[in-house]
Subunit: 529 residues, 2 copies
């Protein structure tokens, strides 16, 4: 049995009464005692191991509250095409082909022809790099892709293939496809790439864990689907799941879940059922997020609302008969308002039925009408937000939303009103590195310092304490695990990260550089640099 | 944090290499160390509590592998009508009526007019005992019931009601129903009794736990349905579930479970998804169990087969795509053979698909053809049996099955062939008292010693060690928890019972009298006599 002491570090506990301690006693994957070295030693047998942490800093393990685990994990197996030269990218494809059975698809991501002196690639070059594999490499922008001849063949793309609506097949002078595909032409290939099998997904997730640990993540709230859930169960049963996972249920499975009687929170400390996930609108980039007023520069375009408050209420009532909470994607101020209205009615319904508040959440909450900012706290709605989106998207937010961007990614406004914020990355859309999110929330700047020394809408900056709580205490609350996770406190999960530098003493502009030295999950050192 | 020592007892560990130890160190609900006092003390802090068990005997907590938890729990709230006089039964009804809101149904069970000097009761007597409640009391035989006037009214039973097929409404000379109902006439009332609500089920299960602990049970495999599952989840989330529950999924929910991707084994150490339950045949009593040859005394009646091997294989293949194991009710030798055939093919299928053996089981295995006794071990099929059925049913088994009863409840034949036996009670059909089951398995006698000093088919008696394993190690294996439950071993659940007398030194004929002094679950004393 593993019983031991960690001492000689600053342990930030996130317990209000005792913000730091000098030592932790750990046993059976849980924190046994937190306090002075003397106090914690008394909780342990004489022969228990002692780990001197040499004055380092310890935080509770961090949780990403919005991530697509399967897609992130599979993406890690793609060839990294973000190379200084095209030649190097091709070399990596050659390398990958050597380690991949012939005729298996090779995927890659991240190229940018503007960075490459040689410009765009073509199918012939890729054929040389990997003559026996279909190859498909997406551009960093995700608006273009580079395929080889086997991939084009598999998709049935030749000189007779017309450009699809909203897409273009790049062609040479003779009309022959070059291998570069734009926009909807990409789907011609994507739809013929075989889906990953369950063993592949399981293996990819297993292999992704060290990447997440290395960034300080000990938990995730996942928004992928059935296959991901099955892979996670297999990993847990094999003792290979070393990540606390909250697994959402897609709306399409709501009826099945209710028929079985599955509740949010059912499961183990490793893997548990989360909320039912649905979509109220689209996204900012393609201007499909549902807005109350037209996008800047348009007099009519207000995006697309997928679900109005009545439809959401109906879903919510059905889900709540089974104790299932909701997580609803809402980007635009209109979509957010519809979700808030539905949740307000759902709170009344819960009250009438004499049921407790479920941990309902809105995913993204990207822009709110000023009249609605107070409603999340009022109706006990969790704001699940991705700070990195604020800094990635600030320019297009300004462009499309104009002055409405004042309450875009409005972290501090919401927090000051008493809203519970829980943070994530939406990986693989963005990096899951939580310190990138923390940096974005605290500085409202990109790593470069852009756009200004104060950051974008600096009144929305959070304190470091607030940002860290949104990665620790609040995700635990959101998952219904507030009495066993998210703090360094007796009886809680021994999930923690050891840092070389104290983030409370790090200049905010450098927070994104932090990476843990070591990560512990359930009392086990799962990762060391 | 709870870290402490239990010492000065004979701890039967059920670890082959170390069958007994002198002390256990316990922490965080798990066994930290098992061995000598010195060895276990070294695993604990100096100030840890020490419990002197004064030379008593300790066993791992027992598990009932086949029980209907909701029905058992609701049944505990019935008036106990097994009284020496009718007057006393009526008094108990009066008492219950005082503590029950008016117009709420009062249920009772256990009366036997042959025991009562006064003979059958009638509606008028019950009306006096409970004028404001509909009352419905089933006979111990379950073939008759006693209702009061409000209950008859609610069921629409009056002198114009004809006897239903296969049933009889007892009537006085004027033709007026007396309140006594036989066989299918009982369902006229039963179908109008409102079903228990979820809060009622939750509360009933919570209240049933101490009854189970008092008998030495720390776990159950439940075969009730959705409402039971929901109540269990609510109890677990409220921290009130103190019983290890494996929850089966009814066949009617197989599709939903597969759509969601739910696997057997998903859940926590308290509550986990078990097998998919279905029925291959009926039962012995009504002669609906499916037999290869006609029942004794009939030339044609072979019972009813609900599912043949092809249908079972189809169900099994569907379930196994989601990692769901099966638990199939089979009583007669024909039903058992169909299930075995299907499982044999399912093992081939698992092999082809490169999947591990799921923990498939047959529920009851009441009678086997001699040619089929070896097939369970051969195909790695778990025999989930209820020893108490052997002693309850031996007379009707002899009557209906004649010489075929040689391989009825064939515990030792199956065990000697290497079959894994996991034992339960089918409560509320029988008492869930595991020591009654152990006694029946070891003696093949009723408590009275009937039918003979050697017991019924004495070659099928088990050793006490075998019987205890079928309540400890084997249910843990069946649930996929063989590495964390069922033994007193470091890293395992601290679930155990303390006995005044050592069952290995108790005369077998008295084993049914054993009741624990104390029961511990997850390191917590949940019950003390």
């Amino acid at each position: 049995m593993k019983l031991y002491l960690l001492y000689n570090a600053t342990f930030y506990t996130f317990q209000p009464g005792q913000p730091t301690v000098q030592a932790l006693a750990i046993g059976n994957g849980k924190i046994l005692a937190a306090g002075s070295v003397e106090e914690t030693e008394a909780a342990l047998p004489l022969r228990a191991k002692r780990f001197n942490l040499n004055g380092l800093t310890v935080l509770p393990g961090l949780t990403d509250s919005h991530l697509h685990l399967q897609h992130y994990a599979l993406g890690l197996q793609y060839v990294d095409c973000e190379t200084p030269t095209r030649a190097e990218c091709l070399q990596r494809v050659t390398q990958k082909a050597r380690n991949t059975p012939a005729h298996t698809w090779i995927r890659g991501h991240g190229w940018n022809q503007n960075v490459w002196e040689e410009g765009f690639g073509n199918a012939v070059l890729l054929d040389e790099a990997a003559p026996n594999h279909p190859v498909y490499l997406t551009a960093k922008s995700l608006h273009a892709a580079w395929a080889n001849s086997l991939a084009l063949q598999a998709a049935g793309i030749d000189q007779n293939t017309p450009d699809p609506p909203d897409g273009r097949i790049q062609r040479d002078e003779s009309g022959k496809p070059t291998g570069i595909l734009f926009e909807s032409a990409m789907t011609l290939v994507e739809k013929v790439i075989p889906e990953a099998t369950l063993p592949q997904v399981r293996q990819a997730i297993e292999a992704a864990q060290p990447h997440l640990w290395s960034m300080g993540l000990t938990g995730v709230h996942d928004f992928d689907r059935r296959q991901c859930f099955m892979a996670l169960q297999e990993l847990e049963q094999a003792g290979l799941l070393k990540l606390r996972v909250v697994k959402s249920i897609p709306l399409e499975n709501l009826e099945e879940a209710v028929e079985i009687g599955l509740r949010s929170g059912f499961g183990s400390p490793w893997l548990r059922i989360g909320p039912v996930k649905c979509f109220a609108d689209g996204a900012l980039g393609p201007q499909t997020a549902a807005m109350l007023q037209p996008y800047e520069g348009s007099s009519t375009d207000t995006g697309i609302l997928f679900l109005d408050s009545e439809e959401i209420l109906e879903i919510g009532q059905r889900a709540s008969t089974s104790g299932l909470s909701l997580a609803i994607h809402a980007i635009g101020d209109h979509a957010n308002h519809e979700v808030i209205k539905a949740y307000a009615q759902l709170r009344q319904y819960e009250h009438q039925e004499n049921r407790p508040h479920l941990r309902h959440r809105i995913e993204h909450v990207q822009v709110l009408h000023p009249n609605h900012v107070s409603l999340l706290a009022q109706h006990d709605i969790i704001a699940s937000m991705q700070p990195i989106h604020a800094t990635s998207d600030m320019d297009i937010a300004d462009r499309y939303w104009g002055e409405r961007a004042r309450f875009a990614y409005a972290f501090q406004t919401l927090a000051a009103l008493g809203t519970r914020l829980t943070f994530g990355s939406d990986a693989p859309v963005e990096s899951p590195n939580p310190f990138w999110g923390i940096h974005a929330a605290v500085t409202r700047q990109r790593h470069s310092g852009y756009p200004s020394p104060e950051g974008w809408y600096p009144q929305e900056r959070l304190s470091l304490q607030q940002a860290l709580e949104a990665y620790t205490v609040n995700p635990a609350y959101t998952a219904g695990r507030e009495n066993e996770a998210g703090k360094l406190q007796p009886g809680f999960d021994a999930d923690l990260i050891v840092l070389e530098e104290d983030p409370f003493r790090t200049p905010p502009q450098r927070l994104y550089e932090i990476r843990p030295l070591k990560t512990m999950i359930a009392g086990e050192w799962v990762w060391e640099r």
